[in-house]
Symmetry: D2
Subunit: 344 residues, 4 copies
């Protein structure tokens, strides 16, 4: 941490602050730069950045030196983290996220009934996917919208899993639901509205279940990696990141997919990174193009909403692909991945 | 709801959609406007707006007709809601939010120890305030930051209440904490990161305890009123709104306080509306000016961070006023309120 | 400027960079902070901050030390700048912006015809205002919208000036229009879309005419003050700032008025600061509340759209007050200003 | 246009408005939807959407029916526009933007001196590019930054053109500069800060020179197409669009490149669409990944900043690639384009 003193700071301001820092057990050095004075502060054992030093008289600004996230940072963990899914399952081939494989997780926003779920799941499988997504606990903006099937939906997911062999990805909204969904889910998803639900993240951190953590719609890249840190710090290394669009002034699309975040996060962190083009655009006509963009930008996979009958979907029909279009998207994405591998 | 058909929509597109709407039990009328066709859709018994109709072939856009929130809307409830606090308490005068009184809720971001809490609380009282805020369950961006005292903090709040007679406002982050904080808290606060934690809102809706619901930092005014609807719909009419700054491109301030939201929400809704200038600016030097602005714009009160020693605060010291400045702020705000009352 | 070296920077990286800085005629000092190395760079004669040092191998980040604007900064010019308007006019009392007086500049968005302009101007005068605004050169999003009367509008402004004695504020969009509007205008306005039209700013800087520079709708406070710097640097000290709303994700209002910017800019800069609540909200029903907020926050005046018949206005009727409401707004704003003066 | 009447609108409100519309020469039809009344308004000869009808008593909201841009819209012009560059030049092969070819326009942000410009230009040519970009008229945030070489820079561009045979792309900031740059420039560029400089757009519209119009950093997709409309409406069909990043709350990158805008604009409009990943990210380490993303999303080409010595660049060194990296980027982008063509 570097503390920049104001141009009007007195010797006493600087000396008082220096003493306070030393009292806190840190090291402080005063240096001059032009007409200004700076104090560099260091501490052994961890990142230090405390904005509240800006409340001291004579202080103008405080700058961080290293990133505030450690476990999620590539600075301390150079190799890519590879998250295995379905490792101990019999009769199924495990998949690995973050290690060079490319996976498209597909399925409906919400599980509506067994028949529709199975129908979609078989088409997802036919399109060449190994992972099925389907929500049973839903977070809807309006209390008058469909809120998900809850526990009875979990039974449908179990059936899908058994009949198709697909791995299951489903969202949890509160601590109690972790336990309920734990058995059937191969990956537990945390939605954008819960990225900062730190109690939930801590609970997921105390398991070893892979967690697909979506970026908060108004979270910076750094805040996002800090949220991942909550899970990692509690002992669960199996964190999968997922860019899903951020909120901007543009209203033509539902959100603005932050394509920059893909290479940025791959450089800052060792964690696997997916992209959700369905929420990221909100318009199914844009989903394929943006999926291919995410693939070319270096994503380890995609999370795509698919519905066999979007017009009748109880949630997010507007942004769901029909299964026929999924196949085309998967083929093209894999072709891009393949052509780029030549240059590595 | 109005459905605007695309310029290339065929007669069959229109007819199929009309039949589907009628099958759903709604009324549909086809009208022409220039070269385009529109379908107006109505239903008895509630607001209807379903974007998913945009997935039908030939549909270009779907427009809502009435607001999607009903219980929070002034359209169906013209008079201001007045939320009473401390009505059944002996030895204390209740306060009323939303009915013409003006209240400044003040206190530290986080409760740190009994001595500091009491010291601040007495100064808050001296400044003319009746409500004390102090967090014991904290939502911090970094897992390495101070996370609040938890249950032992509740005991301190109890002591503050007993010794000062101030009403207590404290935040809850998850369902279980509602029960823990229920006795000591006169108002339960939901923070910006939990505005869309619908499970938490539903639980709070099943009590009658006043709920101070902060606006999500990236929530539109309409989404915010929909979150209030979750609480109201579950049976709790005592909802207090609070603008606390939204996330924008501006980085000089921590957030951008949305001053427009005050008159806008007072016109759209009958609920009481407070403003939090401490988070809304993130800089104590701006707090007084923005507090006065909020007062002049029609807020029913303020929520202000105060700390007797901001330099030593474990959270948000940067935006906390010293108690001496609180008194000046309260006096000026009340003077503005008084001068504006002349013109009513 | 402080240059923070990456954790992997070698001795050679640091030495090469130090030599380059010295070659450029600046002073460089290498210091250690924890495991990192920093280089502080200083130069006599001006602010120095050059992000491009981040391209050097081994560099992680570059921090500024002082603000990049000097002439607009209160750091180098402590007293408020007072901009006089109409100083040399006979038969009229000059007004002073930024020196304690409070002025509401009012009038229609666009001048439409002489009769309407005069009608509005007389009502503006009756409401107690000394300055009249009216656009003749218009910047409209659509080429199909009314583009302003141009030069014939200037004649109408001249008539308004003569008949009412009001000072005239009008916008210019390009260099040539400065000359055309120079005689009639007492203040030349630069609109939000031209805040970064640096050629226009330079030209205005080479006159002494007061310039009302609106904030760009997506400009940070610092970029805004840098735009003012373009005018000041060219020799014109008569710059008046005006917050008019920034672009955010909120769609209920046309823009989000940045109330924080008022005290922030008054602290950072010595220039007078107005607020435009008409564009800042886009909704006439919000204009009075937000005007009072701006006044309470410390604005030196307001810029308000008024139209005697908003329904027939050729531009921005939606956000225009009828003159009757202007009077009420001015009275209340002055009452707030008066009550706050007691506490100074 | 559809006018939605408020729930409290009276018969008189509706009748007065209907009469006014008819007086304006438009057609008005009143219809009922649930408890609300709507008025549909149509006019022959053009798009009609006038928000100012919301100022009429009893009106709640006004909705557009068709897009406000006509010439830029695919609705009225289905085939892709192909912009030819260098058609009449001897000794050079023309290039075509928007018709299936893929072009990377590369070069330095600013022309600094002849030697450097030629050095970079030859490397741009070696990398397989046909178009060279280089600024001589610069728009810089700070008046203390390098402002471009101006007219002497145009001579350098002339030399580059002659020696390398590359086509020249350069920016103009004001009307007078159009004439100055007209001869040497094969494409005239309008920067993000001038997207709403309508006087400049009108002037460019009265030529036939290809115009590369960058998106305003805070412009919506619709406002952007309206700016293109200004050029088209004045008679110049040769408009090339370019997404270059929008302003959001994210601060890790300089801007947020709006990848959604590529397929969205290709669907809404027939104009060619490029992407500028250099400004879109602000970080050279992200440029290649984002370039490939833009290519996969359907861009017709890229605009990339290249500098042989970014450390010494007078502008934007931070986001400039060294020429060696340009070659790799071009090869990969063309490989993606090729692999996707298989699926068409």
């Amino acid at each position: 941490m570097i503390i920049l003193m104001a141009h009007w700071a007195t010797e006493k301001h600087i000396e008082d602050l220096r003493e306070h820092i030393i009292d806190l057990g840190m090291a402080a050095h005063i240096i001059e730069s032009g007409k200004r004075k700076l104090i560099t502060v260091s501490v052994s054992g961890g990142p230090l950045f405390d904005k509240s030093f800006e409340t001291w008289p004579g202080v103008e600004k405080v700058f961080p030196i290293i990133q505030p996230f450690m476990l999620a940072s590539r600075e301390f963990h150079q190799e890519n983290t590879v998250v295995p899914v379905g490792l101990k399952k019999k009769n199924s081939t495990p998949v690995f996220l973050g290690g060079g494989e490319f996976h498209v997780i597909a399925g409906p926003c919400a599980i509506e009934d067994e028949k529709t779920a199975l129908e979609i799941a078989f088409k997802v499988k036919e399109a060449g996917c190994s992972l099925f997504r389907g929500g049973v606990f839903k977070a809807r903006t309006s209390p008058y919208s469909f809120q998900g099937l809850g526990k009875s939906g979990l039974k449908i997911l179990k059936k899908v899993k058994k009949e198709t062999g697909l791995f299951i990805v489903t969202e949890v909204l509160e601590i109690q639901e972790i336990e309920e969904a734990f058995e059937v889910a191969d990956i537990l998803q945390v939605g954008t509205r819960n990225m900062s639900n730190y109690r939930l993240l801590e609970s997921l951190g105390s398991t070893k279940k892979p967690v697909l953590l979506k970026r908060g719609m108004s979270s910076t890249i750094k805040e996002y990696l800090m949220a991942a840190e909550y899970i990692l710090k509690n002992g669960n290394p199996n964190v999968i990141l997922c860019e899903r669009g951020i909120r901007t002034f543009e209203t033509y699309t539902r959100f603005t997919l932050d394509i920059n975040a893909i290479p940025a996060i791959k450089q800052l962190s060792h964690l696997p990174m997916l992209v959700d083009p369905s929420h990221g655009t909100g318009i199914w006509r844009l989903v394929e193009s943006v999926s291919l963009a995410a693939t070319a930008a270096g994503a380890d996979g995609l999370l795509v909403e698919v519905h066999s009958n979007p017009q009748m979907a109880l949630s997010d029909g507007l942004q769901s692909l029909i299964p026929e279009r999924l196949k085309s998207l998967v083929d093209k994405a894999k072709a891009i991945k393949k052509v780029l591998r030549v240059y590595e």
